[in-house]
Symmetry: C2
């Protein structure tokens, strides 16, 4: 039996995702709920980063987390232990979430009293980049073991986000990963994006992540 | 300018992918070309593993490689340096290859005189598992830094392959990855799959990979 709420997401019937996304974004704005869509390849450390972010912000914001996966509820169970509201979304094999699927999650999470909601999207560097979920802002994680060539191969994902975390920075000595080169490649695709180096393992860099969330949320509220 | 042939793959117009896949598989069988569809998440080390496999087998088989990516031709360039025929397939944003797209690659690679062709699919643990490419056999890579929970989250991919390489086994001490647990999870999904531990960095384990390819290809020829 699952110890967290698991939602079986239905495939969207809405035709115009962008319209639905703008609608959801506006509704969340009205209720003062800042929604961050967090994307990455499988195994980049999304859930571990979410736990570090919760650690930094849970005393000042009411936080909720939606964990999207094709199967299992291991991530939502991990997050629920940190004391915030967490639900698991099962996508029924779908490789991404769109706005209507995100809305199903939002309605189940009951976000009205929440200040900050993280949507952990399906682990995939391709499809989630193509669908506006209605989030206030988008972030992605690239982890050091994945290699510094990823912006060359998955340019859309790197282009559409507002924040990029380079995770597993603690194992930089072990892998052939050129941080300057990757920053250069990102800059060409997305000149204004914030790039922060972090380690979910050691906690390094998460003060800066919390600062980014705080100030971005303040700007967004204006 | 690209130093390797880059093919801009067109979106398939064929309706029944399974029929197209069987047709391609049969044609490749007739010309004695064994096609391996290699899948994984981004950054698991597909290209590095392909290079190790080429090293082991290039003196006994005529090998060709098709590198599929949304953008860039860095992978095909790396492979071409190893002395085998390599082409780059650009998927135009598509997150997977189907049989018709694979056929476009096969026709450009000119596989008639090749014994063994590797298709390096788009880095993605979701969509490529849903489309039969017409390959003789399917393989996937899970790398240690991605975590041992991946079979729970991406069950379809682990279910449909004939060979699983656990790569980056050299950094096992650095990450919290339980090899026995992952083998157990894989066994539940796919009891007969071969699971081999490898390191593309050190070369460890690739004699066993070459043996698997040799013997599987011999069985397939019968």
């Amino acid at each position: 039996m699952d110890s967290v709420k698991v939602i079986e997401i239905k495939k969207s019937v809405m035709e115009n995702n962008d319209v639905q996304a703008d609608k959801l974004r506006e509704e969340l704005k009205q209720e003062d709920t800042f929604l961050l869509n967090l994307m990455s390849a499988p195994g980049s450390g999304k859930t571990s980063c979410v736990l570090r972010i919760i650690e930094k912000l849970k005393d000042e914001m009411k936080i909720g987390v939606m964990e999207a996966d094709i199967d299992s509820s291991v991530d939502a169970e991990k997050v629920a232990k940190s004391g915030v509201t967490a639900i698991q979304l099962h996508t029924g094999g779908m490789c991404h979430l769109d706005a209507e699927m995100t809305r199903q999650g939002i309605e189940n999470l009951q976000t009205k009293d929440l200040d900050f909601v993280i949507l952990e999207n399906v682990g995939n560097l391709v499809c989630p980049a193509e669908f506006d979920t209605g989030a206030s802002k988008c972030a992605m994680i690239l982890s050091v073991p994945e290699g510094d060539d990823k912006p060359l191969k998955y340019p859309l994902m790197f282009s559409i986000v507002d924040l990029i975390l380079i995770n597993k920075i603690d194992c930089l000595g072990y892998f052939d990963f050129d941080v300057d080169a990757v920053r250069e490649r990102i800059k060409k695709l997305n000149p204004n994006v914030t790039v922060l180096e972090v380690s979910a393992k050691t906690g390094e860099g998460f003060d800066a992540v919390a600062d980014w969330i705080r100030s971005t949320r303040e700007d967004w509220k204006k």
